[in-house]
């Protein structure tokens, strides 16, 4: 038991129970949420860099008319890889990775729920990313856009295995995202520190919870889409073949039923990050906690009522278009509530304009612009004019980069000290922010004008007599400014990780529980589990942390609490490290890649997966396994 032990002895026991031993085998077997989250974050940022390099390649090609740097086939692969990488291998994984790292710490528990599933989810998304990028290196990458519309991605037009690779990469992503969503929901529902009732949950945790529910409800749609696409291609089902009773528009319905909520899968965690950063640097509790929570939930619900605004030009019934116009505009209401709450917090507080807050301000500016153009394209007549032009490219980059990447970069600056124990540079941070903010706006704002001038998306070149050359050159040069900002950011991360100044437990004097432990946190997160009596516990009790006593230290033990009031219900053992999730991911990857070529891979591939799952599930004979 943890009572009756002095701090040093307690820490020694907890280390023995929770730490992952050194060595490659143990690294593959670890189930520590922090280690897995760090891997996830680093992997996602590597994909961001790769996806960014593809964007640079596109901008070089488009810098002048009739350039011959990329041929049309390679260009198609590149814009497909750029979109797919950014959406499926960077944006969603990085937000979930932040949740994997932060949620257990913020709710005051020692590990995420289902930690082996967590390890599995990382290996799976890594395998999916490798599949996509190895295919690109082999000149076999998908070339059908990140949306893979049929019939271009179907058996009639999609040559070779390119669309199959895209579809299976999606399946890897689904598996990973769904696993993490379940972990987040259960961690938030059942592993909150005693006393952390629903009205005391940190806003970031609320946002991650809503995000997880969106994943749970939306991902089955893309699962159906990718599976039926590959079935149409491999075993000649007829889902998307109009000649046999199928429908090409069915693809768009199913894809966008997932695709639009995906925007909020990315945006809501960012909104949670913004709420946290704004409160900390305003030195006051967030203004409008309850309205913000309600706005997160409303956004999550409304996210499912918008998908048809991606399909206004396909000829749907007018009544349907009107409904989706109204719902698309309605989502501006919860977005507006959030913006006003953040501004009110800044207004009423004493803001300190450190780098994380600068990124948040950059977010507010860019996201508001993206939101306004969003209201514009929610209108059918306007959308009909600008559909598939660079106006839309500008709009969604303002929403996605403004709405997610700016807050994420602010979040990295904010939580980097917690994750690594070291501070990033304020000076380099300001340079990074300035270059990224200016570079982003100079790159993407002119795309609105290009779109209004009629330049279509996804074209690999254009004629010199069209009025697009000057703006394209300007945009390409501005993109270099944006890239230089990211370069400064990367330099700052590497420099700080290796030799940044020590951070200490709570360098920002923040209020939430992750700052109650050391930086970086030990394997067991907290020496003793906190007891919470306020939504800003570290501001309410800056000197002394109320904690529990009476937990075992000879095994990995968590406190399970009730859903609403977070009253303690049980002491539950948390799974030990295991190599089986790694093997299960390998077996699953072989099965999924094999099924690109033959449906029998699903049959025979299921056997090793079942073996791995039994190994994963079977008790190991430790004392806790035997009554």
């Amino acid at each position: 038991m943890d009572d009756g032990l002095d701090d040093a002895e307690l820490e020694r026991h907890l280390r023995q129970s929770w730490e992952t031993p050194r060595g490659i085998w143990n690294a593959l077997a670890t189930v520590d949420h922090k280690i897995i989250a760090r891997r996830y974050i680093v992997t996602a940022f590597i994909f961001l860099i790769l996806g960014g390099l593809l964007a640079v390649a596109m901008r070089i090609q488009l810098a002048r008319p009739e350039a011959r740097i990329l041929d049309p086939d390679r260009y198609n692969q590149i814009f497909t890889m750029h979109g797919s990488t950014m959406m499926f291998l960077f944006a969603v994984p990085v937000m979930e990775a932040m949740a994997i790292y932060l949620v257990p710490l913020m709710v005051g528990t020692r590990n995420i729920a289902f930690p082996r599933l967590n390890a599995f989810s990382y290996w799976i998304i890594l395998a999916g990313g490798l599949l996509l990028w190895i295919s690109f290196a082999l000149d076999a990458a998908p070339d059908v856009g990140w949306f893979a519309y049929v019939p271009l991605s179907g058996p009639e037009y999609g040559s070779g295995k390119r669309a199959d690779i895209w579809a299976q990469m999606i399946t890897f992503t689904e598996l990973s995202a769904l696993a993490v969503a379940v972990e987040i929901v259960v961690t938030v529902f059942k592993q909150r520190a005693p006393g952390m009732s629903l009205d005391r949950i940190p806003l970031l945790v609320w946002s991650m919870l809503v995000m997880a529910f969106i994943v749970i409800m939306a991902m089955p749609a893309i699962m159906f889409a990718s599976s039926t696409l590959i079935l149409d291609r491999l075993v000649e089902t007829q889902f998307y073949n109009p000649a046999a009773g199928g429908d090409a528009l069915l693809w768009q319905h199913v894809f966008w039923f997932f695709g639009h909520p995906e925007v909020y899968i990315i945006f809501l965690p960012a909104a949670g990050m913004v709420s946290t950063i704004v409160a900390t640097f305003s030195r006051r509790a967030i203004f409008g906690y309850l309205p913000l929570v309600m706005a997160f939930i409303a956004t999550g619900i409304l996210a499912f009522g918008l998908w048809v605004h991606h399909m206004f030009v396909v000829g749907l019934p007018r009544l349907g278009e009107s409904f989706f116009t109204a719902s698309s505009m309605a989502i501006a209401v919860p977005a507006g509530i959030q913006i006003f709450c953040w501004l009110a917090t800044l207004w009423l507080g004493r803001p300190v304009f450190a780098t994380p807050l600068l990124f948040v301000i950059g977010f507010i500016v860019t996201f508001v612009i993206g939101g306004l153009t969003g209201v514009m394209v929610a209108s059918v007549p306007f959308d009909t004019q600008v559909h598939d032009t660079y106006f839309v490219v500008a709009h969604f980059h303002y929403v996605l980069v403004g709405g997610a990447v700016f807050p994420l970069l602010g979040a990295i600056y904010y939580w980097f000290p917690k994750m690594t124990g070291r501070m990033m540079s304020e000076r380099l941070g300001r340079w990074a922010f300035g270059l990224i903010f200016v570079g982003f706006n100079l790159t993407f704002f002119p795309m609105h004008i290009l779109g209004l001038l009629g330049m279509p998306r996804r074209v690999y070149t254009y004629q010199p007599d069209l009025p697009w050359g000057g703006l394209n050159l300007f945009i390409s040069l501005s993109a270099l400014l944006l890239v230089s900002g990211f370069l400064v950011f990367v330099i700052d991360v590497v420099r700080a990780w290796r030799s940044g100044p020590q951070a200490g437990p709570n360098p920002w004097k923040a209020a939430t529980l992750e700052w109650a432990t050391s930086s970086p946190p030990p394997a067991y997160n907290f020496r003793r589990i906190p007891v919470v009596d306020a939504s800003d516990p570290l501001w309410m009790h800056p000197e002394e942390l109320a904690v529990t006593a009476g937990q075992r230290v000879d095994r990995r033990e968590l406190i399970v609490s009730s859903v609403v009031e977070a009253l303690p219900e049980a002491r539950e053992s948390s799974p030990r490290d295991s190599i089986w999730p790694f093997w299960a991911a390998i077996a699953t990857s072989i099965m999924l890649i094999g099924s690109i070529f033959t449906p029998w891979a699903v049959v025979w591939g299921s056997i090793p997966i079942a073996v791995c799952l039994i190994g994963w599930f079977w008790p190991k004979g430790t004392a806790e396994d035997i009554s």
Partner: protein, 200 residues
């Protein structure tokens, strides 16, 4: 930061059952995922139906016998399934062991009529969109039955080892029973769609 112990948790049980168990919530979350998937598949069935001039497309309605037989077998398994769950709550090891053997057989039994359901549709998966969606719905549910059958089989083996008599394992049995109920519940709308909607 100083720490002050304000709550003694030493008297709490070492595992929670039902809603006190994280695994129960995880099972519910996975049921929500799969339920969303089935709901979407049913929506697509009706979407394709709405586009087709005739439904079923170029095929007579499915034969009722195998699907109805399977439905009855599934419904018959509800009572023993509930009993096994209750025995697990009561930690009645002997009854749980026997109950799990019975449930393994009852979960395997529907696979026999399922084999005859595919030809009973009178359409192949690659003939038209109707064939594609009905084979997909049957395939999804078959995968559902098989995965739960394997889960039950492994759990049955586990309950006969020294690890069986353990609160955590009883919780697993309860969750497995919950999941089988879900397998049954998801089948009922599928049965209506597959067998009765084409007769409307």
């Amino acid at each position: 930061m100083k720490e002050r112990a304000v709550l003694d948790v030493s008297k709490l049980p070492l595992h929670g059952l039902s809603t006190a168990s994280p695994t129960w919530w995880g099972t519910c979350a996975f049921m929500l995922i799969e339920g969303s998937g089935f709901a979407l598949a049913i929506a697509i069935y009706f979407y394709l139906l709405s586009l087709a001039p005739n439904w079923p497309i170029d095929a007579p309605p499915p034969d009722l016998f195998p699907g109805t037989m399977l439905t009855l077998l599934l419904l018959a398994s509800i009572v023993p399934n509930i009993l096994v769950s209750r025995w697990a709550t009561a930690r009645a090891l002997a009854k749980v062991r026997i109950g799990l053997i019975v449930m393994t057989l009852l979960e395997a039994a529907p696979l026999a009529p399922r084999i005859f359901e595919f030809p009973a549709m009178h359409v192949s998966w690659d003939e038209n969109a109707y064939g594609s969606i009905v084979w997909t719905l049957l395939g999804l549910h078959t995968a559902h039955v098989i995965t739960d059958l394997i889960d039950t089989l492994v759990l049955t083996c586990l309950m006969f080892t020294r690890y069986g008599d353990n609160t955590r394992r009883y919780g697993d049995v309860e969750d497995n029973c919950l999941y089988w109920n879900f397998v049954i519940v998801t089948w009922l709308p599928l049965y209506v769609c597959l067998y009765w909607v084409p007769r409307l």
